[in-house]
């Protein structure tokens, strides 16, 4: 089973990377951009997808500051 875990800063948490990107885009002429957030993508093959949530809470994300979203990908 191929899985993809998207990890984002929680709403309301300082996200300086998102802010930096949001400010950079207009400088390149891209207008109308708002609410930019920068997170991480973890891709992995797992035998037991039931373990994914536990993996996210214990290691892949820090639930105090990050939200995660698990997507399973068909091969």
């Amino acid at each position: 089973m191929r899985a993809r875990v998207l990890i984002r800063p929680k709403a309301g948490i300082l996200d300086p990377q998102g802010v930096a990107v949001e400010r950079a885009l207009p400088a390149l002429g891209f207008g109308g951009v708002a609410n930019v957030h920068v997170g991480r993508l973890v891709e992995l093959d797992v035998e037991d997808e039931g373990q994914l949530d536990d993996m996210c809470r214990k290691l892949l994300a820090n639930p105090l500051i990050e939200d995660y979203e698990i997507q399973t990908v068909s091969a």
Binding site: I13, L14, N62
Partner: protein, 215 residues
């Protein structure tokens, strides 16, 4: 009295931490892959970039064999001091409240900062006075403190104008509810000798730790 200093792959401040410890106690080198704490009376988790800061600073280090022993030692009331990456590791391990986020300006910053002592009711600051300023170097890119922490657990704040990383409520250092585990982003181990540290204020924290470790 013996204070252990942990070294992980990527740790870079263990040598200075052992030199600082040597001013107040016998330093003992502890290795990340060895769960044996060698009977030390306290543990320093020093700064650096353990496991390359992969995933999140401190996220991998907290699962090392030595940390299982450090967590048990802390839960039994033993004094543990986490500095910079050590602070990040103790937060990831759940020994301290909160988390460290990237600095608000995204830059690695290396500078001397003034810290204001908030409480002396911890072993580490028992040698200080409330309101006292400590001049200590800071050097990090992921030091913006965020978390829900009781007011009495805030030990050090950045003095006015010194909160360069955007930490919530100017928090620079916290303790756990029991008061035996402390973490801070600035580096007291780099400020134990006037010749190289800009001040020797950092020594206070090691003296306080040693005082309680003996008791």
């Amino acid at each position: 009295m013996r204070l252990g200093v942990v070294t992980f792959p990527g740790t870079c401040d263990d040598v200075d931490a052992r030199l600082a410890v040597a001013k107040v106690a016998e330093p003992v080198a502890l290795w990340h892959g060895d769960a044996d704490l060698q009977g030390v009376d306290g543990v320093v988790v020093p700064g650096g970039f353990s496991y390359g800061d992969y995933l999140r600073a401190g996220a991998i280090a907290r699962f090392s064999p030595v940390m299982a022993s450090v967590i048990a030692f802390a839960n039994a009331g033993g004094p543990v001091l986490g500095i910079c990456n050590g602070f990040q590791i103790l937060c990831e391990a759940g020994l301290l409240p909160g988390a460290l986020l990237p600095n608000k300006d995204l830059r690695f910053v290396c500078r001397q900062v003034d810290l204001e002592v908030q409480t002396t009711a911890t072993p580490f600051t028992s040698t200080c006075e409330v309101g006292q300023h400590l001049s200590i170097p800071a050097k990090h890119q992921t030091g913006c403190f965020f978390g829900h922490v009781a007011p009495e657990q805030v030990v050090l704040r950045y003095a006015e104008g010194h909160n360069f990383n955007g930490s919530q409520d100017d928090i620079a250092g916290v303790v756990n509810a029991q008061g035996n585990v402390m973490g801070l982003m600035p580096h007291p181990e780099h400020a134990v000798d006037l010749l190289t540290g800009g001040s020797a204020d950092g020594l206070r924290l090691f003296e306080g730790m040693a005082r309680v470790a003996v008791a």
